[in-house]
Symmetry: C2
Subunit: 500 residues, 2 copies
Amino acid sequence: MPTTSRRTRPGSGRGRAVLDLPLQLERTEGNRPLQVHAGLRAAILGGQLPAGLRLPSSRALAAQLGVARNAVVVAYEHLNGDGLVETRQGAGTYVAAHLAARLPAPPGAAPPPPDPVEVPGRGACALGHTEADPELLRRLAGAVRRRMLRAGAAELGYGDPRGSEALRRQVAAHLAASRGLRCEPGQVVIVGGTQHGLRLCAEALLRSGDAVWFEDPGYPTARRTLEAAGLRPVPVPVDGEGLDVAAGRRGALARAAYVTPSNQFPTGATMSMARRLALLDWARAAGAWVLEDDYDNEFRYDGPPLTALAGLDGGDRVIYLGTFSKTLFPGLRLAYLVLPPAAVGPVLAVRATHDRFPPGLTDAAVADLMADGTLAAHTRRMRRRYRAARDLLAAALAEAAGGRLRLVVPPQGLHLVAYLPDGAEPGAAAAIRASAGIEARLVSEMRLVPGGPDGFVLGFAGHAPAELAAAAAALGRAVRNPDQCRVPSSESGSRGALAV
Amino acid sequence: MPTTSRRTRPGSGRGRAVLDLPLQLERTEGNRPLQVHAGLRAAILGGQLPAGLRLPSSRALAAQLGVARNAVVVAYEHLNGDGLVETRQGAGTYVAAHLAARLPAPPGAAPPPPDPVEVPGRGACALGHTEADPELLRRLAGAVRRRMLRAGAAELGYGDPRGSEALRRQVAAHLAASRGLRCEPGQVVIVGGTQHGLRLCAEALLRSGDAVWFEDPGYPTARRTLEAAGLRPVPVPVDGEGLDVAAGRRGALARAAYVTPSNQFPTGATMSMARRLALLDWARAAGAWVLEDDYDNEFRYDGPPLTALAGLDGGDRVIYLGTFSKTLFPGLRLAYLVLPPAAVGPVLAVRATHDRFPPGLTDAAVADLMADGTLAAHTRRMRRRYRAARDLLAAALAEAAGGRLRLVVPPQGLHLVAYLPDGAEPGAAAAIRASAGIEARLVSEMRLVPGGPDGFVLGFAGHAPAELAAAAAALGRAVRNPDQCRVPSSESGSRGALAV
């Protein structure tokens, strides 16, 4: 244990005792007294200078450290004010005795490193990627810079809980022009991602234990968000026309429905107009909310974006969730809600106890890129690229799989689904994925009720053509390997043949 | 109701019917077919083209709009795909009949504007302001720009739920050097403000109904956050040494304590070392969490920042909440948690169902400003300015109030408290505030248990010297007005004399 040395040597006097401990002075942080204070404090809190230890005189420590004596005097005063040392009149300065019972972790015993954190992967066919387009980044950086240089108290202080007015105006104009959704900027609330918006709505508009219709198969992240908010997602089957509203009506009473009507995730179904109207009728009759997650509507390849469900609703029961994670990138954390007027107040009241309001400068810069047409031009450019990526992946898969995969090539969005043949063994998809070394999600991972065909949900945006081709080849090889993809049949009934 | 005109005129033929409605074509959005589609869709959804209406032939509408016929043909196809029109073989195109039951809001009946949203004020002595320093903004803009231009898939995609590693490293180094808080970057979690962090901790580490010691008086925003998370703040009185731990122990069992030990909000008390150790002893024995909100520690005027409670704890029971809202500005939405290792996993699991992860580019830019010393230099500069503002406000108030206010001038932070004389009428402070036209908060507004002296919580940072002087003069006038600030006494006992 370190001590002050020579303190008992006859004739040496208290004044010349030194610390056996080499103090760490951060000579770039603050002034000299602050450096000495910080060094001593770290040593006390770290247990290197134990409770009750007498510290050297200010003169001796100053000499040892090569600093002015006054720096040590001031540092001792600060330590005293902080309660870490005690000055005994005429007897010197001691590490405070009351720290004895509170000795921190012994020297060297650093806290164990936290559990490794799971960050979404960037492997072959991983979902959620977009192009890091340098031109777009350059323009965004310029817009942020201009906004920052102009920023005053209004932009820097506590702001509107709905977020940047400039961005809300642009979003409202964009939705009216491209989605048939007419709304006031006051109904738009900027949030930090779709899940964030979903969470705020769940807490503001629903009660713990409420049932929520949930597409089956459906988006697992949204399911977890609803569950974490205390809600009870109930599976409603999906077919080629989207969510089966009649099946939902046969089930338990629900207070909301979470749907992806433009491009059902993951199946790619577009909800038919008949189903849309049936869903809205149900919502109106039940007093339920429809949570319309329109996650990739800007990437429709065969025509204009579909009319939003919220556009059919007259602004009553549908909450529209849009995002910039696909047109720009997820790292921006930029999404928005369009709320029926009656829902605005409750959602903002909840936000006041979460993040209060969103960061405004980047948001306003994005509004600038919408206003000057940069974002629309970028979206058109990316639409061409993503469409080409979709076609490349689909063609490569069709060739590589030799008919062993049924492809659903969507007219919209950034992913496609490749189904295994009907009757493939349970677990086959996971085995094939592992063998192919791709990061696809599985349809079976997105089901609430097990069963039905399994397959691979493959992202094609933000991946280089060569990567997509290689992934398709690997997946094709794995699928054609009879050990990997065994379909029970008269000639091959052994379940044990499945290699994992 | 608009109709197609001339459709019944003999000899005119269907082909030449035109819309009586002037279609709005957004000629800058998309190509011509998309413009025609969007215009028709808006008119259908807006009810101007009612269900069942026969639309003009493509030739006639093209002539009316002055566009190529093919643009209308394609637009009609898209409307058909969208379910908004029906094409009857040989009989033309009709607005879909099934829309009849679903007519949106009638034309002109826009949804009512949402409730006006309360944005925190910027009036005299309002809290929460900092200087909009142009030099700092210029450097921040430059750092953001550099980060954006360098950004790749890792920075733009779904990221680490703890936030920018660069920023977490800088925060950990800063806390070790300046607050005696040793932690790993893996224990730091970047959040969008202190309330956001508090909310995540409440949900991850506590249960609905749990009691939480809460300073009385204390920070109302934090109280609301805890309550919204289902917790039960229980008042524990505050005196000159901070939270009265012994009083807390006499009360009900609690699972956490929310404290502002460096600069108790609003009273300005510094928690004594004896109280700190008692609080930590309690937390350890009770298995409770201490939520240390260290909201303005960088602005200590008389010495180095105090040792963080979390620094005394050995990384066990204390959750440290720090923020950039004071060193930079609230509009950044940038704060951080330092979590005991055991709390990291649960908090991140909760975050996965909220905002998932924070925006990384601005955060990394702030890390750059920490690494190159810009932020430290800015903080020193602001410390001098805020100290001068504090001294100006205190001197002006002392002079203007003529002894009618008891000032508590803090050694730290961005606000001071001016108490009314003991025995002032209830309601006097609110009346004086209204009369003075200042935006001060009142101590009485921050009490959980009514009683005790009332006074004004006055922000001095981010306000111009002339504004502070004017506010002090106005407050002094109002306080010296005997109709405004009546103290019941032998010569004046009438409660009715209070003017509101």
